[in-house]
């Protein structure tokens, strides 16, 4: 019995350890490259449209790189076609949409560090 308890305890500890080292779940972020997005005053239209979408969580706009990164709310996903349409409606052109396994916070930190 003692042996069984000991094995069980070790198994649970092992599970806990593997949970800590497992890679984080994909946050579902998508990075959009946007032509024409050159100033904060005009990029507001994009921000306003995207934050109105119910699935939009954290959002990051980088004018220098012409990038808009959108992370969905937990349990939701980003509909790339829908976001592209919203950015187009705001008056800009999306040239690329790339799903990335990074949070918006990580993308922000990475781009600021450049």
């Amino acid at each position: 019995m003692i042996k069984f308890l000991l094995v069980s305890a070790l198994s649970l500890m092992s599970l806990g350890a593997s949970a800590q080292t497992a890679p984080a779940a994909d946050p579902g972020t998508v990075k959009f490259s946007v032509n024409g997005m050159v100033c904060a005053f005009c990029a507001q239209g994009i921000e306003k449209r995207l934050t109105k979408m119910p699935e939009t969580g954290p959002l990051y706009i980088n004018l220098a790189q012409k990038v808009v990164a959108v992370q969905p709310k937990p349990g939701r996903s980003i509909d790339i076609a829908k976001v592209k349409a919203e950015i187009s409606e705001a008056g800009y052109d999306v040239t690329q949409a790339v799903p990335v396994a990074q949070t918006v916070a990580a993308i922000r930190a990475e781009m600021k560090a450049r």
Binding site: V34, N35, G36, M37, V38, C39, A40, F41, C42, A43, Q44, G45, K48, R49, I61, N62, L63, A64, K66, E89, A90, G91, Y92, D93, T95, K112
Partner: protein, 219 residues
Amino acid sequence: MATALLTACGAALALPMGHEDSWMLMLDSTPQSRGLGLNHAVTGTWAPGATLRRWQEPIGHGGARLLRETAGVSLTHRLHRWNLPHAQANLWLVGDAGQVRRQGGHGYAAGRGDYGAMAFMADYETTRVYVGGGLKALRGGEGLRHDVVRVRSGFSFWEAEYEGTQPWFIVEAERTRYGNAAMREGTRFTPMLRFINRRFFVEIGANRDGGMFNLMFNH
């Protein structure tokens, strides 16, 4: 004096309307003029609005001036936008029409009438460089007839974050031709600092007439 006329829509030269479903408030001030404009972007390319202007207009070479005031409705239309990999370029058409009032003095009687104005503008902007220009024709009762050409160019001191404030150095050259040959023509160069912070767009400058200030707020 050339600044007196078009600074009434001075800031609007940079971006005369906001994104769809947004309101744009524009305030302009120089020693000889004040302007207030408001428009609402009903689509991404059309923005009806209203405008008020008040300026002192030269009536000769002796420095005499007459005060004019206008109140009108405006319509702004983005004719075309080019979205380039590192730049944006636009063509704009802005019209306004309404009532003009002239204060009497210097041998002129006070009076009022209708006026109409049409402006064609173009701009090209990257995150570091700005070039823009426009032509405006203003016609109205009580001898109101002005043609204005304006060019602006400048650069940003650095590339700012979206959340940060971006400062620019801009130089404006403006020339006004008055319908009455007795009125002077003039070209003014106005260096200015421009600050953009998300919803706010502020320009502060000075020329030999004095200081000028433009503010735009987009909501």
